[in-house]
Amino acid sequence: MEAAIVKKIEQIVSANRIMTGLEDLYSYSYDASFGEYLPELAVQPENAHEISQIMKLANKYKIPVYPRGSATSLSGGPLPVEGGIVLDMTRMNNKLIIDRENLLAIVSPGITTGEIHRKAEEVGLFYPPDPSSSKISTIGGNLLENSSGPKGLKYGTTKEYVIGLEVVTPEGEIVRTGGKTVKNVTGYDLTRLIVGSEGTLAIVTEATLRLIPKPKAQKTLLATFSRLVDSGYAITKILSSGILPAAMELMDNPCIRAVENFSPCGLPIDAEALIIIEVDGHPLAIQEEIEKCEELCWQVGATSVRTAKTDQERDDIWKARRMVSPAITQMGPTKISEDATVPRSQIPAMMEKLNHIRKKYDLNLVVFGHAGDGNLHPNIITDKRNIEEMKRVENAVSEIFEAAISLGGTLSGEHGIGTLKAPYMEMELGEAGLDLMKKVKEAWDPHHILNPGKIFPKAGQTKVVLV
């Protein structure tokens, strides 16, 4: 980057928060997804004012800017794909106010989501969105990617909990959207537009989050099935019986075998699928609910049903789920993690299609995920240095997206579009739908400097390219 521009940035942010060395630039060249892109500069802003000035400068000289939290993104959200400046937002972590009277949290973007969980729970409140990286990921990143986790089924995703924002626009204006009230119909709902915009419309500098009372207790069960389709029936049966579990997680047979191989949890390796169901709420109510869940699982042909009697047993059940990621990475160094989502009634059909894709391309493809809301995680374990196999992965990934959309689903339930899924946007949205989104982007960011290269496909790009 030209020295004169760096000088101008030094007038905005103190020099110790500006990084130009190659060791630092390479440290901001990746996230938890795929690809490596070298930025020209990394800056650690401390307040909205600094970001505003940086954006004005970037807008004037047309320098790409990428906000970045803890870079746990699985879709390439913070990758500096066109060079320019990475804004490391982790230093903006000084505010975490829990407003007990209004059931709100007011937070800086660099605070980790886990820290919000902890502080809210200290006073009997609850911030439900629970991406598995919540101990590390920043709330700013969670908001911009509209992240969620197992609890999305009952409690909804991040967007349901954001009622107010302070943001810096691509042109450097500091703007407040929404406010402190749960009800607010004044004008367009810009808050919801920004949440999930993957950092392409604005940079969040403060957020007001809604909290709810913390559920008093949990009950958890694990059921195994000799036929995958039966686990699908169990899920739909339970959901149509008047019970809304806090989480319903599914693991397929390759997943079960990988876990048992890596860290034995006593799972039957011949089971075609298992589901973990957790209900939460008043102790008396959930006792009744978990018994009903047990009964329904048996009814649809479960081969075993185990309800945790103690906290230890509950932890053991969740251990099986937690072990999935470490277990599957033993099969290879590169993990392509997808989150194609289908209407929950289509889970068995989607599982069948995934099975077909696994066989067709002869890949290590395992499936787990949040079955209750149709959000599956097909993961392909491979080695990015194996070019031939990566070509097969490319084709398999394309087919996974096509399968999800053909079943009335979506490309991404919670990870975001980022770089890898961009080529498939038109397939889901249609030309006019995608065009409308482009117009929004144009209006907010006329020079395309805020997080360019994400969401929208490049001209002629219709397929993911991994090698």
Partner: protein
């Protein structure tokens, strides 16, 4: 300035992967495979004390692993770009316990250090290597150092130095550490190498004691008490004659070859004793002793012997729990808290035993130290090499210590012990709070002085 500035450098595009990894790059051979195990999920970030204190990605485990990978691929320079971020790592290995995919960070770190050490030729580095090569592996020279320190402490010279603030003028870190050095016991009380001390009461096991080079020189009282505690719980203790420095300091400074030589000497020395267990009381040494198997895995005639050695190596707290209970003699007064030795906790997996022992002391009120599993930033000689960074982490830790109201802060490694004593001194509460080794507390409660 109205003329628009153009971005002169073209946006770098990712290089095709197939072109990158270079054979013949030593780092590539040592650690490239291991760095590729990292899935860059970032779960290690909150576990890393330097990421917390320095707040940038290159000071995190994920960042460092990536930089080693970049250097192995030839994208960055080893001396210019890799050396500093690696040098600033404490080596506490807390990241390994947080890693969901078991990336061998310790191995990556030591490989990087080895390659960096080969490239560095400045004066400081030469001096560091000279001391590591010429002092630590020579028990006699180490003991001489200890004896000189004893003379210094007893002769009144220390008082003069203190009054004139001589050391503060030479080096602030050195002055701070000198002031917290525990009182060295008379050299005549030091257990002789090669002696066998019988068990008290029924003999339950024969154990060999690893004295440790620094502990033998400067913490000889703690070593004597360790032996007494062992005999109290029914262990016959032998002190192997030709034992030597464990080699941990060498390995941490990238002098892996020297570490291997020391490992072989120790394996031979301890095999001769035919002991059931090899006991040490220093978390840092113990960690390497338990990893001799990794260190020598590629040397055919040593691999099996190293494995047996690692298997027999135990921390003092493990055997005291196994063969205890200890015959406590008196009630303890005040609150005790415990700071984990990272290498005892993260590498050896020992964290319950020291707590169990402290909780078993009659009258003791044990209060868990928040963040006790996070490094105190002693890091071998990290605190001397990176004094300011180290003190930043330590001062934060001491705020937690203060909240426990502890009057006794216990650790299980010489480096951590000195560091915590510096922390207490810096807080200005050395008159009310003591920093001691686990063994000292247990021995005191057993009425041994």
């Amino acid at each position: 300035m109205n003329a628009p500035l153009k971005r002169t450098e073209p946006c770098p595009t990712p290089q095709p992967l197939s072109l990158v990894p270079k054979k013949g790059n030593r780092l590539y051979e040592l650690a490239y495979e291991a760095t590729n195990q990292c899935i860059q999920c970032g779960y290690c970030l909150p576990a890393c004390p330097t990421y917390e204190s320095m707040g940038k990605e290159s000071a995190s485990p994920r960042g460092r692993i990536n930089l080693v990978k970049m250097a192995a691929e030839g994208k960055i320079d080893i001396s210019k770009h890799l050396a500093e971020p690696i040098d600033l790592c404490l080596g506490c290995r807390a990241c390994e316990t947080a890693c969901p995919v078991s990336v061998p960070y310790g191995h990556i770190l030591e490989s990087a250090k080895e390659v960096i050490a080969d490239e560095q030729t400045n004066q400081n580095d030469k001096l560091k290597k000279l001391i590591l090569k010429q002092v630590f592996p020579y028990p006699k020279r180490m003991r001489m150092l200890g004896n000189l320190t004893w003379v210094y402490q007893k002769s009144g010279l220390k008082t003069i130095v203190k009054k004139t603030k001589l050391l503060h003028k030479i080096s602030e870190p050195m002055a701070q550490f000198e002031s917290v050095l525990p009182e060295i016991e008379s050299p005549v009380k030091r257990a002789k190498l090669g002696t066998i001390i019988p068990a008290k009461g029924v003999k339950k096991a024969r154990v060999a004691f690893f004295t440790g080079c620094i502990s033998d020189a400067l913490l000889n009282r703690t070593n004597r008490l360790t032996i007494e505690l062992l005999t109290l719980v029914g262990c016959e203790v032998i002190i192997p004659k030709s034992q030597n420095c464990c080699g941990a300091l060498h390995a941490h400074q990238g002098m892996t070859e020297n570490a291997r030589e020391l490992a072989k000497q120790n394996i031979a020395a301890f095999e001769e004793t035919k002991a059931d267990y090899y006991i040490n009381n220093a978390g840092g040494c113990g960690a390497l002793l338990k990893e001799y198997d990794h260190l020598l895995e590629k040397e055919e005639e040593w691999a099996e012997r190293a494995k047996n050695f690692s298997h027999a190596s135990k921390d003092i707290s493990e055997v005291l729990v196994e063969f205890g209970p200890l015959p406590f003699q008196k009630e303890w007064d005040g609150v005790i808290t415990y700071q984990d030795s990272c290498h005892l906790r993260n590498v050896q997996g020992v964290h319950r035993e020291p707590r169990k022992l402290l909780q078993s002391i009659p009258g003791a009120r044990f209060v868990e130290l928040p963040g006790s599993d996070s490094c105190c930033a002693s890091g071998g000689i990290y605190n001397l090499l990176h004094f300011e960074e180290s003190m930043k982490i330590l001062d934060r830790k001491m705020e937690h210590v203060e909240k426990t109201n502890a009057t006794t802060v216990v650790t299980t490694n010489p480096g951590c012990l000195l560091q915590m004593r510096v922390g207490i001194e810096r807080q200005g509460c050395s008159s009310q709070v003591q920093g001691v080794h686990l063994v000292d507390v247990l021995a005191d409660a057993c009425g041994i002085s």
